[in-house]
């Protein structure tokens, strides 16, 4: 059996907590930028103008996503911290309630009442250990649950930028009409598949190919539905104009 270093494992879990931002950012950056390139290529004839508009969209998108992730995590963290503080005040005022609640949770997880009682009694010798275990078991709240707003914002912004560069770089490097857009879309599809495959690898799945195809299919379906909605509402724009 492979030995597991708990400290190393804890660091790994902390790193993995950013996977959501990385996957979301890369997927959104790649898909949004590919969409901008496709849309503008139909409306604007000059390659450089399309590239410039896509660059501007990328910069705005990265900043917006970073700010959104920062504000979202901050709001969530503040609410959770406030709840946690309230729980701690209640726990200090009514320690028996916490002990009984933790005991019930341990029984639900398969310990006999007698064994659970002994565990809680041992934990009660160290109020800090009792409180943190009760918070995790009774309310699902623990240190890693509380996000890091600044880190989440930076990771989301950088991930969006990396994702956006995927369709952007082929488009900038290939100047032959139609091949530029084709290269951008192919790179986007390949990257979306790659993100899914990477996610499967992180989750130690055997069917990483399926994970990649599923990710690609979901992302492309979302893009296709968006495109169809655009087509459906375009007559409204013509009427208004």
């Amino acid at each position: 059996m492979a030995s597991v270093d708990p400290a190393e494992k804890k660091r790994l879990f902390e790193r993995l907590s950013s996977v959501r931002e990385i996957v979301f950012g890369v997927q959104d950056g790649a898909l949004t930028t590919a969409g901008v390139l496709c849309g503008l290529s139909g409306a604007v004839s000059q390659h450089s103008q399309v590239a410039l508009a896509a660059l501007a969209s990328t910069a705005a998108g990265a900043l917006s996503m970073a700010a959104g992730a920062y504000l979202g995590t901050r709001a969530e963290t503040e609410v959770l911290r406030a709840e946690l503080a309230r729980v701690r005040v209640d726990a200090a005022a009514q320690p028996y309630t916490v002990q009984e609640g933790l005991l019930d949770e341990l029984c639900k997880e398969g310990l006999s009442r007698e064994a659970a009682y002994r565990v809680v009694r041992l934990l009660s010798a160290a109020p800090k250990a009792l409180a943190s275990t009760a918070e995790a078991k009774m309310f699902g709240l623990s240190g890693p649950t509380l996000g890091r707003p600044a880190l989440d914002g930076v990771v989301m912004g950088v991930a969006f930028l990396v994702g956006a560069l995927v369709p952007l770089l082929p488009y900038l490097l290939i100047t032959v009409p139609r091949y530029d857009l084709g290269g951008a879309l192919a790179a986007t599809a390949l990257t979306l598949f790659g993100v899914g495959y990477f996610e499967g690898w992180l989750a130690h799945r055997n069917d990483r190919w399926r994970s990649g195809v599923r990710f690609l299919a979901i992302a492309m379906s979302a893009a296709a539905v968006g495109y169809l909605i655009g087509l459906a509402i375009s007559p409204l724009g013509a009427t208004a104009g």
Binding site: Q94, Q99, E100, L103, E114, Y117
Partner: protein, 175 residues
């Protein structure tokens, strides 16, 4: 929940007492008063404060001709281990695994499948003369229960917060 004046449902249940498993029957209890207290579970954190509280004042209850019995839905083996864990309990802990006695006294919490924290005092005729219940998360007062037992045994009108030595109310009246 039974109230003063109601006849107390009889029981004949397995119990743990003085470090062994035995049987306890209401019909065989000869004391003047009987104090029956229901509690939710063995191996919990509020119940032991009550169970040991009644045990610590058992001499005072005995001096008042009052037998004490605790009841929960745990079986007699659990009661025995629990009593050992608490350092020994000198009154019977009755096993009511299916909650039938708690139901008969109207104090079974169907949601949690445990008895409420309810206290009953029975007189010589085994009618209820006192009943009360607390929420599951609040322990009852042992000293208040002892005060009520003492007040009941006087047979007099006892004003609020009456304790031995305090003057009784007017005689010749029911309340």
């Amino acid at each position: 929940m039974l109230k003063p004046g109601d006849p107390a449902p009889p029981f004949d249940l397995e119990c743990a007492v003085d470090g062994r498993i035995a049987h306890s029957s209401l019909a065989k209890i000869s004391s003047e008063l009987v104090l029956i207290f229901f509690y939710p579970r063995d191996f919990s954190f509020i119940c032991p404060t009550e169970v040991t509280g009644f045990n610590n004042t058992l001499k005072e209850f005995t001096a008042e001709q009052t037998a004490v019995a605790g009841v929960s839905v745990d079986d007699a083996d659990s009661h025995l281990r629990w009593a050992r864990e608490l350092g020994g309990i000198g009154y019977p802990l009755l096993a009511d695994p299916n909650g039938s006695l708690a139901r008969a006294y109207g104090v079974f919490d169907e949601r949690h499948k445990v008895a409420l924290r309810a206290t009953f005092i029975l007189d010589r005729k085994r009618n209820v003369v006192f009943s009360s219940s607390c929420p599951l998360n609040v322990g009852r007062s042992v000293s208040e229960t002892l005060r009520i037992v003492r007040a009941l045994r006087t047979g007099q009108l006892c004003p609020a917060d009456w304790t031995p030595g305090v003057e009784f109310g007017p005689t010749g009246r029911d309340f």
